[in-house]
Structures are given as structure tokens and as C-alpha cells.
Point group: D2
């Protein structure tokens, strides 16, 4: 050893930091949702991000922000569907932006459940049995037979009004027909929460629109500019906005892009499994949106929890909202 080497290993400085000590839950006191999750703030890594997310979502509400919830369809495939419905039911969400798969699956679940399955299934065997797989969730094919009939009846009325309609009208009028308190679309319809879904064709809802269009007498259509205008202009009228993005893709981008028109969202919480290093929107942390002006650069007004949503969303909702 040389003095020189030791110097490298043991820098002189021992400046004290004014931040909190890292300190986890020690299981000596009461063990409740509150005590456990309170400890996350000083546990470090993603636990701290979840604690920050809870804090930001609470501040969104204190600030009476217009709250945008965005989600991909895996959220609705899973039991998080019930949580999204509960948030809308209780008036905690003002705008929902989602995918065609979400709408498809929410409607099916009003009639017949999805079933727990296995990640490691024999796909060809499932195909023969008419079972469709979504991760460890199974959807028997009869669900889609039922859906086709249901939607066909609905389309009859829906396109009778006008031949060219919007995705938000589709969601609102369809939701109004549903009878299930755990349905996202039903709760959205009942609570006047608009449901934006620009790529409405991109799932079975689109397939049945295609079938219906072939047999329809008129030239029916889905027009998407009107919804985009509404989303932008309602955003500009909001005093404050807060985004909760569960998953990535078009729903998340639609929310941040339209918030650009008001100088950025005031608050943003992302829950994502995306990879930053691929340069995609899906993997981009909220920091990147600041350079675009899609999220404002204020004091700790955004965070990202790097986690699969089913693990953390029930906790985030339980702690940040009143029920």
C-alpha cells in the first residue's frame, strides 16, 4: 500500500447531508398498510419512488387538479380493472385515456369473467381448446362470441344516430348499456368521465366494427380529430392537471402531448416497465417530457415507479385516495 492509494480509497471530506436517513420498517410496532408504506419513503430505490408517487397523487388532489388516468389493456385484463372502476366511481378521475383492448375486455367482464391461468401453457393446445392467453390469464373464446352479439345490438342503435361517430361517444353510449358496478365504462358513463381511445380499431372491438360495417347499409365510420380537439381544449381550461400513467403507449403519450398545449402537466406519476435505453416513449422517464414541455419542471412534481403495475397500483390507490 502507498499513501497515494489510500488517499483514493478514503477521501478527506465528510460533509454531512441534510437529507433523511435510509431506514426501513423494523417490524417492532404495529404492522398496517399505513406503517408499512410510510417506511417506503426512506427505504430507497423503487420503494422511495412509490412513496413519492403517493405524495404526488395526494398533492394533485389537494390542488384540485384535473386528473388524467391512462392505462394499457393489460391493466383491464388484470384485477386492476376493478380499481380503475372504483377510482371513477368515487370521483377521483376526470379523464380516462386507454386502448381498444381495454374497452373490449371491460365489456366482456360485465358478462363473463376472465380466468386465472399459467404463463407456461402449451400454446397450440390452448388454441385447440379455444382458450386465449394473456400472460397468466385465460380468456375462453366464447367470451368473444357473446361480445359480438352484444356489440352488434349496440352498433344498431349507435350508428343509427349518425353514421360517423367518435371513440368517446362509443365509450359513453356503450358504458350506459352496461350493468356492472365494476365496469370502467359503466362508471365512466355514470360519472361523465370521458374515455378517449384514438386507436379504437386495435382490438376485437375493431374486428366487430369491421364485420358490422360490411353488413351496414350506410357507410359507417369512426372519426378521431374531434376527440383530440376536446382533449386539448378541456386540458387548456383546467387550472391544474395531474397524470397517472399505468403502462405506456398511445394512452400515456396522448396525455402528455395534449398537456403540452397548457405548458405541461402540473403533476405526473408513471408506473412503467419500459426500458429507457431504447429511446421509446414507453421507456422515457418523466424527465424527458420536461424537455418537451409536456410536464412542468416544478418541485418534485413527477416521478416514475419502475414496477409491474399489479404490484403497486393497489397500494398507491389505497394510500393516496379516500374511499
Amino acid at each position: 500500500m502507498t499513501d497515494d492509494s489510500r488517499e483514493h480509497v478514503l477521501p478527506d471530506s465528510d460533509e454531512e447531508l441534510e437529507t433523511a436517513d435510509v431506514e426501513g420498517f423494523d417490524f417492532t410496532g404495529d404492522i398496517t398498510l399505513d406503517t408499512v408504506l410510510d417506511s417506503y419513503a426512506t427505504t430507497g430505490f423503487q420503494a422511495t419512488a412509490l412513496a413519492d408517487a403517493i405524495d404526488i397523487v395526494e398533492r394533485m388532489q389537494d390542488d384540485e387538479a384535473t386528473i388524467y388516468l391512462t392505462c394499457t389493456s393489460n391493466i383491464v385484463s388484470s384485477g386492476l380493472r376493478e380499481i380503475v372502476a372504483a377510482l371513477i366511481r368515487e370521483g377521483h378521475v376526470d379523464v380516462l385515456i386507454t386502448t381498444s383492448g381495454s374497452l373490449t375486455e371491460d365489456v366482456i367482464k360485465t358478462a363473463k369473467p376472465f380466468k386465472m391461468g399459467s404463463w407456461d401453457a402449451d400454446e397450440a393446445e390452448l388454441r385447440e381448446k379455444g382458450i386465449n392467453r394473456l400472460g397468466n390469464i385465460y380468456v375462453p373464446s366464447d367470451r368473444y362470441v357473446w361480445l359480438e352479439e352484444y356489440l352488434n345490438d349496440f352498433f344498431e342503435d349507435f350508428f343509427a344516430e349518425e353514421p360517423v361517430r367518435t371513440p368517446t361517444d362509443f365509450a359513453a353510449e356503450l358504458g350506459a348499456t352496461l350493468d356492472d358496478e365494476n365496469s370502467i365504462l359503466k362508471q365512466a358513463a355514470d360519472n361523465d368521465v370521458p374515455v378517449f381511445c384514438p386507436a379504437l380499431t386495435d382490438a376485437e372491438v375493431g374486428n366487430f366494427l369491421y364485420y358490422y360495417r360490411q353488413q351496414a347499409e350506410e357507410d359507417i365510420g369512426i372519426e378521431i380529430l374531434e376527440d383530440y380537439e376536446t382533449l386539448i381544449e378541456d386540458g387548456m381550461l383546467a387550472n391544474k392537471t395531474g397524470l397517472i400513467a399505468l403502462g405506456d403507449g398511445v394512452p400515456k403519450h396522448h396525455a402528455i402531448m395534449t398537456n403540452l398545449f397548457r405548458g405541461g402537466a402540473d403533476y405526473a406519476v408513471y408506473v412503467s416497465t419500459g426500458m429507457e435505453g431504447d429511446g421509446s416513449l414507453s421507456g422515457a422517464p418523466p424527465e424527458e417530457a420536461v424537455s418537451w414541455g409536456k410536464i412542468k419542471n416544478a418541485d418534485k412534481n413527477y416521478t416514475q415507479v419502475e414496477a409491474e403495475a399489479t404490484l403497486v397500483v393497489p397500494l398507491l390507490v389505497a394510500q393516496a385516495f379516500e374511499f
Copy 2:
């Protein structure tokens, strides 16, 4: 040690396997693109997946399959834009499905380049300088000023024809105005490759459509059912189909969903950074699509390369296609 323990460690069987030996490149012979990539087949892990992908894309072509290329907008942000344009230019791609961000960025690049930047920028500082960040790529804001003017002129003609148009018409007519051999839209227009983009509003193209719509005399619109019908029906007419999905999201799902109508795609190659464990379409391996009938279950007709696209797409294209 007991006999019993040893038995667990050293099973009796030594059955010989008839598969290839694992054997990598040993740098003793010629070092060329061919020799290096040939060694990937027996290198294991993702190298083998890349070798399989090259093989499947070659078989797509031997089989005269209709080739669908799907890509997210980060592909176009990066230098893979030039590669997608080259594939279309040489007649290697029959259908392109992409995002609004891709169209936006392809048009901008016909006039002004994107610039290399840094992942770790100070976002607020970038915002002040009018520099937008996409991973380690920078887009100065003047690009969007130029784009607005360019699109405004284009919209004038485009909506004069009819007030309600489709995304494929948008892409084709816009592409025809462009003058850059490296433009995806220009090459698609010149080579009659349809460009599907259901969520056309979801980027700056959408923002400028919004501005234009506000000042337009007529009630302009973008209708998406007609394109979906075309995509499905053209697919049903194809003898064979092959998918190359670069990234995930709506473009990939649109390709596999519409291939469902023909009993599944005959070939599929995914390049993805998605996480299977979140149950998303983005992370779902091609196996999952087999249970849905979106991809056929044949002999080694699909694979997924778990990789960031810029690393592997130039290699895949160089080896699997003729130029």
C-alpha cells in the same frame, strides 16, 4: 458425503442430443459480416434468436409472403429510419404499420436532421434552449415550426379533395410531396406501399391537424374504419404473410390482430425490449399470439430477439435481404 447425495449431483443418464454443438466465432479465419453472423446460430441466447430471425425473414421471401413491417416512432427517431426507407425502396416490404410520431419525424428529417445528444441532459436547460430530447437524440424546436408550415400547405390540398380522410391517404399523399430518397413516406408513396397509422392524432401531426381544423372552413376529420377494413381484407387475399415487428404497441398489435382473420401470420419476427411478466401485448412473446391464432403454429416460423432495435436491425436487414 453420502452415496445418496452424490446420486443427486450426478444423474446416471448421458443420453446424447442431436442438436448442434454450442460453438462461437474463434477469430481464426476471415472476419466478415457473413462469418461473424453465421456463428450466431450456435452461440446461444439472443445471438441464436437473431440467427433464427435472419433465417425466418429469408424464408418469408422464398415463400413470397406479403411482408408487414411494423415500427414505433423511436425507430424513425434513430438511424433505422434510413433502413426502413431502403427496405421499401428495394421492394422488400409490402405493408407498413406505424405511429403518428414516425410520420412526424420522417417528414421533419426530409428538411432538417435530428442531432446526436446525451442521455443525461439537464432537462430544464434543454427546455429553455428549445431542444427536445428523445433518449440520446436531440430535436431543436425550429423543426416543428417548419413542419407546421409544411403541413398547413399540405392540408390545404389534402382536405380540399374531401373533408374526411383516412390515415393511409394522409401518408400516401404527404409522401408524394417529399423529396428525399431516405424518406420512409416518400419511398412508400413511390412504391405503392400502404402506411397504416390508426392513432394519427398521437404526435405533432395530430397537433397541426388540430390547429388546421380550428381554422378550416369545413368540418374536417380522420376516419379509421376504412383503413382497418383494407388491412384485414388485403391480408385475407395474401397467400402467405410474414411480420417483422420492430418495437411493440399499436403497430405490432394491428399486424397480428388483422392476421387473425386469415388464420394467423405464417411467419413472425419480433425485436422487442418488452417485459413478458407484465402481461402486456408489448412484452408478450410470439408464443402467446399462437394461442389467439394471430400467428400460425408451424415449424420454427416465429422468434423474438430480445434487444434494443438499433443494435440488431442493421444486421438482420444486411443478412436477410438482397440490396
Copy 3:
């Protein structure tokens, strides 16, 4: 549309599955740790894996299995240190396998805390200030000055006994000197839980061993075969074994490799952020270990939660163990 196409979209079969319905928490009843986490079993994706992990850890205990906890040093950097100490304190863990970084950091924390920091720090500036970064956790350099003195005193006694010692002896004798109920090493020493750490040199503990060795009169050493023998043979004597692997690397592999000698672990729960597709042990799911005989192939006796540990370990411990 042709009949043929429709057939592909709507398979005949509608066989009913006997598994549970997918159903999430609907926020209508009591909101407690129990009610929220109970819903995870039928929420799907990683939530179901966490519910399975809780169940498996409960069964380990019912079965009076010898419980191995393995962890990497980031666990100890974070607030999960307190949780690991609590598990040992309450007699819930029988064997600990970890890294040199874990030992280093546990000892430091008995004297001075780690501090909350930021992921996006200016590294060169931190270096100047003598602040070392571990993700969003900061460790001021004075901690290492203190540690050197503390260890020097300890080494004096430790190597006086014999010049060549084992990592388990190091951990036990060092732990006995510590005075902090939240210390993993102290709790392990007090509760006779052996702490295995084969790569004892691989952190600051190793650096200070190096300094001490240079000035020592005798030729001191750390010998690792004796510990390996103990780990194997104690495992062979256990009626049942259960593994809880927090993170990957040498600690996890040491646990499953030595369980091979007894025909595999009876239970295994992994919490991991590893990527399966790179063929590493770190990313390999427990299924792979079954082919090696490192984990037994029984009925639902293993699972992996794909998650960053700080998010899920407090929940797993709160639900699966009694305090």
C-alpha cells in the same frame, strides 16, 4: 368477410376452466394490508406471483423447513436491512448467504446512517465532496474512515486466534462486537444464524483486510472450503429446506447449488429483476433450477416475483411471517 375468416376469429370451443376468476380489489370494504394483499392472488401477473410467494413462505414454516435467506448488497444498502435483521431476530431465518458489500454496509450502519440521495447526481461533483452513490442512496466517505478503524481493532483479535479464518467466523465474531438491534450481523451472532459470504474480499471489508494483511506480522488468510462443506452438510441434515432469494448472484447460486446435494430445495421464492433471455443464473427462473435438481419439482413449491425488492419484500414479510 368470409365464413372461413370468421371461423378463425371465433373458435367453437367454450370449455369452462376450473380456475379462479380474475378479480381485483374493488375498494368497497375494509382497506387493510390483509384485504389488499389477499386480492393479489386473483389480480394476475406479478401480483399473483407475490400472493404465491406469500403462500409458499407460509408453507415453508408450516413444514418446519430450514429457511435460507440470500441477499445481495443493495438489500442492505436500502431499508430492507432492518427487515432482514428483524427476520433473524424473530427466529425466522436459519441460514444467511450474502456478499461482502452487505457485511460492509451493515457494520457501517451500526455507527452512522446512509442518507437519501438522488439518481441523477453529478458524479464528478459527488466525488469531490466525498459522497459515494448507490442508486438514490448516498454514503459519505467518513463512514469508511470509521469502518477502517473499527475493523482494524477487530482484526487484531480475530486473527490472533488463528491466522487463517473463514467468512462465517468473520461474520459471527464481528457481529458479536456490534451494538445495534437493527444489525443483521448482530442478530445473526445473537441467534446463531451462520452468515456465508464466499467472496469476502469483494468490497471494503476486503480492502481493509488487504491493508491489515500488509502490516500483519503473520501471513493471515481467508479460507473458503470449510464453509462450503458446512453449508452442504447442514443442508443434507435438514428435513426440509426453503429458499428466499432477494436478488441474484453468488448468494442465490450458493443456496441452490448446495441444495443439489439433498435432491433440491423443497421450497423456493425468488425476487429478481434479472433478464431470463441472457442465460444468466441471475435471470434464470426457478424452473431452470428444476432441470439441475437444485429445486424439487413438487406442487407449486416455487415462484419468482419479477420486481425490485424494496417494493415487495416488506409486504411479503408482513404477510408470511409472525411478529
Copy 4:
């Protein structure tokens, strides 16, 4: 639209950047390893990181740095074993730090190959057939029967010299017995490249050491402090050092930790699939090591390629080294 909103969307500034244009390979000229990989520098995202890695490894050599290669055992399971052997054979590597699994597998491959297999095997069936799985690579169990005999003979001589030995001695003397130009250990022995492996017990090599120790007359051992001293002191004598870390874990940490004693490595290239957000060493980007002084903070002297190693290491080696 309001003027105010437009202002947000179109910032005034259009400052020009002096960095390179983003521009990919356009497949109009020669298609060679050189031309394709040259285009990576301006392709963006991870392609740029690979181009930077090639550049940094070239500069290491120009600067006559002592080059440390670190690798995990999946590197040796795969065909990258041949590439590591070639690098040592040609004198391009000065220090190797690796795992016990690497040594185990390198020796087996001198006698019998590993075989290509499948990710989705039936694990219980493989177990019955005596086939061990490593990702998509299979290792029939007879390899381990052979290895035990081979090592038993070797141990006889190895421990006859002295009863307590070091991992570097183990690697050097074992390597000298091997007869395979593609063996890492043989090339290391022939070219006097030390092979560090602190956790020598952590694989089958450890298992057979355990068996041998039980039957040995003397109390054999593996001592790890002496190697650590050598690694530190040789590093301090080097004028410049460069690290190439393939995978993470103990090998990578050993390299950066011992470079701390010389004020940090001069150059570092990581190839990793680790997740930064879990706060682990494995996921930590090279930037984090700068705060610790493990890597120097100079001009573009380090990078990380976020990629599975088999995809990029053959390209990195082909471009950055002479053969």
C-alpha cells in the same frame, strides 16, 4: 387555440447544435462489417453506445492500458467462450476475473461440447433425462461425471504441492493441463494471464473440491486474500487500465473495486442487462462508479451497452481488436 398555447408548443429558440446528424445505414454502398458498424455512431440509442464502446476499447490499446476482462459464467456457457479464448490467445487481455461456473464450463468444453436446446423445455422431463438447462443451452449430466474424474486427478497433484492454494493457482495449473486452443484456461495459462475467481466454490468446481476434501488426507483449503493483494498491487503498477465487463456480479465489482486503489480505471466498457433502478452493482451504470472513484472521470472514457452480450460482443471484438 390561444396564442398562449401555441407558444408552449413552438418555442422560439432554434439554436443549432454542433453534434453529428443522426443518420443510419442506407444500404446504397458496400455492405461490410466496417460500413455497417461505422454507421452505428450516428444511429442513436444503444447502437451509439456500441460505437462508443468500440472507440474506447481501441483507445485502451493505443494507450497501452492493462486490459481487464471480466465475465460471468453465461459468457462461457455460450459461444462467447471461444471469443474470450481468442482475445487471450492474441495477447489482447492482461487480467481475467470470472466465476467458478466459468472455470467449470470451460474445462468441460475441452472434452465434450454443450448442445443447443430450447428455452421452453419441460424441466421435470429434462431432469429425468439427466439434461441440465442454461437458457437455450443444454448440458448432459455425463459432462459432470467426466469432470469429476478429471478434477480428482488434477487435485491430487495440485494439493500435493501445498494443502492451501489460491484460485489463481488453481486456474493456472488446471489450464496448463488442458489441450484445446479454444479453452480460456489453457490460453490464460499459456499466455501468463492471471485468472481471478474469488468465489471458487460457487459451482461444480466447488462441489468436487468438497468431495476431494472429504477424502483428502490433509486439510486442504482455498485462500482468497493473497489473490486480492496481487490484483490490487498489479493494478497500482499499471500505467493505465481499461476494463471490459461482460455481465455483472463479483467479477465486475472486483475489477472496479481494485481499480479504486489507483484512483480509478482509465477506461471502462460495460455490456449489461442489469436494471439501474434496483440500486444493485449489477445495474449501476459506469457513472455511479465515478462517484466512488472506481472509474476516472475523463473525456468519454466509459460507456455501457445495454444489451445481451452474445449479440454485441462478437461485433465489439471484431472491430476493436486486431486478429
